[in-house]
C-alpha cells in the first residue's frame, strides 16, 4: 500500500509542473502585456519610461524560460508575487479566502455522499417502482438545473416566503444549508443514479445469488455483498465530482455573498490582476489533484485488486 501511495504521489510531480507551465505560459503568450495592466492598476501613467521600468521590475525583459524558472522557484518558496491592485503579497490574501471556499465545497461533498448513497440504494431496491421514479426525477432536475438559479429559487422559498433561513452571509449553520444544497445538487443526483445502476449490476452477479442461497437476510446481502462492490464506481466518480463541486462553489459564492475565493478571483479577473489569478488557479489545481490522490488511495484501500496490480506492475 505504501509503495502504491508513493508511486501515486511521484506521478503528481510532472502533472503539477505541467499545470504550472500552462498557467505561466498562458499569461506570457496571451494577448495582454502584464506591465500595462500593472501600471493601470497602480495608477501610473503608461509612459515609455514607466513601461520599461515595469518590464524590468516584473522580469518581463528576461528570456521566457528564465522567467518561468524564476516564477516557479518563487512559487515553490510560496511567493506568488504581489497583487497589482492591492500591492500586497498574493498568497496571504488567497489563504484568507480559501477556508470559506473549502468549508463550503467540503460540506457539499460530504452532503453529496450522505444523500446520494441512501437515494441510490432506495432506487435500486425498488427498481421501476415509485421510489425509482422519484430518484430518476431528481437526477433529471439535477443535471439540467443551473446551480446559481437553484440557489436563487431556494432563497425565494426559504428566505422570502418562509423566512426560515438567512439569504446571505456566513457564520452559522443556517447560513450553510442553501449554499450546500445548491452546490451539491448536481453531483448528488448523478451519484444516486450511478449507484442505482451499479447496485443493479452487482445484484445480478453470481456471488450475490450464492449469498442469497446461503440464506443470508436481504439487508445483509445488500450491505455486505452488493453495496461493497457497487460503491467502487462511486468512489471513482467522487474524484470528478470534486472538480465540479469546487467549480460550483466558486459560482454559488456569488449568489449567497459567501466570502470565499470565488468572489475574490472574479474581481481579480475583472481587474486583470494576473498574480492573483495565477495563484488562485494553482491553488485550485493543487486541491483538485490532492482530492483525486485521496480518492485513488481510498479506492486502492477499498479494492485490493487495484493496489496489488499497481504493486506488481
Amino acid at each position: 500500500m505504501a509503495a502504491f501511495i508513493i508511486r501515486r504521489i511521484l506521478l503528481l510531480v510532472p502533472m503539477l509542473l505541467g499545470a504550472s507551465l500552462v498557467i505561466f505560459l498562458m499569461l506570457r503568450l496571451g494577448p495582454s502585456d502584464p506591465a500595462l495592466d500593472y501600471l493601470r492598476l497602480s495608477r501610473i501613467p503608461p509612459t515609455d519610461q514607466a513601461l520599461a521600468e515595469a518590464h524590468a521590475m516584473l522580469g518581463l525583459d528576461k528570456p521566457l524560460l528564465t522567467q518561468y524558472f524564476v516564477w516557479l522557484w518563487d512559487a515553490l518558496r510560496l511567493d506568488f508575487g504581489t497583487s497589482y491592485a492591492l500591492q500586497r503579497p498574493v498568497l496571504p490574501e488567497v489563504l484568507h479566502f480559501l477556508p470559506a471556499t473549502l468549508q463550503l465545497a467540503g460540506i457539499a461533498l460530504a452532503f453529496t455522499m450522505l444523500v446520494s448513497v441512501p437515494l441510490g440504494m432506495w432506487a435500486a431496491r425498488h427498481r421501476d417502482q415509485w421510489p425509482d421514479q422519484v430518484v430518476r426525477g431528481i437526477a433529471f432536475l439535477g443535471v439540467s438545473m443551473p446551480n446559481f438559479w437553484l440557489g436563487f429559487l431556494l432563497v425565494l422559498l426559504f428566505s422570502l416566503q418562509l423566512g426560515w433561513l438567512p439569504p446571505m452571509g456566513r457564520g452559522t449553520a443556517a447560513n450553510l444549508v442553501m449554499p450546500v444544497i445548491a452546490v451539491s445538487f448536481m453531483s448528488l443526483s448523478i451519484n444516486a443514479r450511478l449507484l442505482r445502476a451499479s447496485m443493479l449490476e452487482v445484484a445480478g452477479q453470481r456471488h450475490v445469488y450464492y449469498a442469497r442461497l446461503r440464506g443470508l437476510s436481504a439487508g445483509k446481502v445488500e450491505r455486505g455483498h452488493v453495496l461493497r462492490n457497487a460503491i467502487l464506481p462511486i468512489i471513482t466518480a467522487t474524484g470528478m465530482h470534486a472538480g465540479e463541486l469546487i467549480g460550483g462553489t466558486l459560482v454559488i459564492e456569488s449568489v449567497f455573498g459567501w466570502p470565499g475565493l470565488g468572489r475574490y478571483a472574479v474581481s481579480a479577473i475583472f481587474n486583470r490582476d494576473y498574480p492573483v489569478i495565477q495563484c488562485f488557479t494553482l491553488m485550485m489545481v493543487l486541491i483538485f489533484v490532492l482530492c483525486n490522490l485521496l480518492v485513488d488511495i481510498f479506492y486502492a484501500w477499498a479494492d485490493p485488486r487495484i493496489r496489488l496490480n499497481a504493486g506488481s506492475a
Binding site: G18, L156, T281, F288
Partner: protein
Amino acid sequence: MAAIADHEGSAVASPRGFFSNMRMSARIACALVAILLITAVAAPLVAPYDPNAVDLPGRLQGPSLAHWLGTDHLGRDMLSRLIYGSRVSLGAVAIALTGIIALGIAIGGTSAVLGGRADQFIMRCCDVFLTFPTIVLALFMVGMLGTGLVNVIIAIVLSHWAWYARIVRGLVLSFKRRDFVLAARVAGASRTRIFIEHLLPPTFAQLVVLATLDIGHIMLHVSGLSFLGLGVMAPTAEWGVMINDARQFVWTEPMLLFWPGFALFVAVAAFNLAGDAIRDKLDPHLAAEHQH
C-alpha cells in the same frame, strides 16, 4: 437513462421511423429542441418587441396581454429578451462545441495516427489540462484573455478540448484495428488518406453523438460565466446576464430572475433528454455502456 435504454431493444427491432417509437418524454424533448432552434434563428420574427427597447414609464409591469411575461426594470419586454437570449446561448454553445470537436479531432487524431513518442507526449499534455477543474480552467482562461463573450467561448474550448482529444484518440485507435482499415492499408493508401477517408467519418459520427450529450453541460458553463459577469455584457439579452441583472430586484420582483433561469433550465433539460434519446437510437452499444 436506463428506461430509454430498456426501451431501445424493441426500438431497434422495429422498422418504423426515427421518432415514432421514442418515449413520449424524448419526443417532447426533441420537439422542444426544434422549437428552441427555430425561435433562436427566427428571433426577429417571433419576438413581439425589440429586446433592448427601453420604456421607463412601463417598467416592472406584471404579465399582461401586451407583455406576456411582463417587463424588466428598464421596461424591456421579458419575453422578447428571453427569445433573443436563446440566440446568444445556443449560438455560443454551437460555436464552442464546434471548436472543441475540431480541436479534439485535430489533436486526438494526430496523437492516434502518429503513435509512439508523439502520442505519449500529446496524451501527457491532455493529462495536464485534465488536472484543472473545468470551471477553474475556464475562469483562468477568461482571466488571461479578458472578459467578453468571444473570450468566454475560447475559454470554454480551451478547457474542454482535452476530454475530446482523449476520446478521439481512443476511437481512432479502436477503428484502426478494424478490417476495413487494414484493407485500405493493404491497398496502399497513405496514413493521411486512411485517416481522412476511413478513420475520420466513423470517429466524427460517434463524437457528434457524445457532443449532443454535452450541449446542456456547456450551456450551463457559458451562462454561469455570464452570470458572474465575465461573459456577455449588459444590455445584450442573454439568460445568465439577465439573471445577474435581476439580482438587485430579487426581493421585490422575483419573476425577473425566475424567467431567464427557467428558460435556461428548460433548454438544458430539452437538450439533455434529446441527447439521451438520440444517443440511444444511434448507438445502442454506447447506451448499454452508459448504464453501467
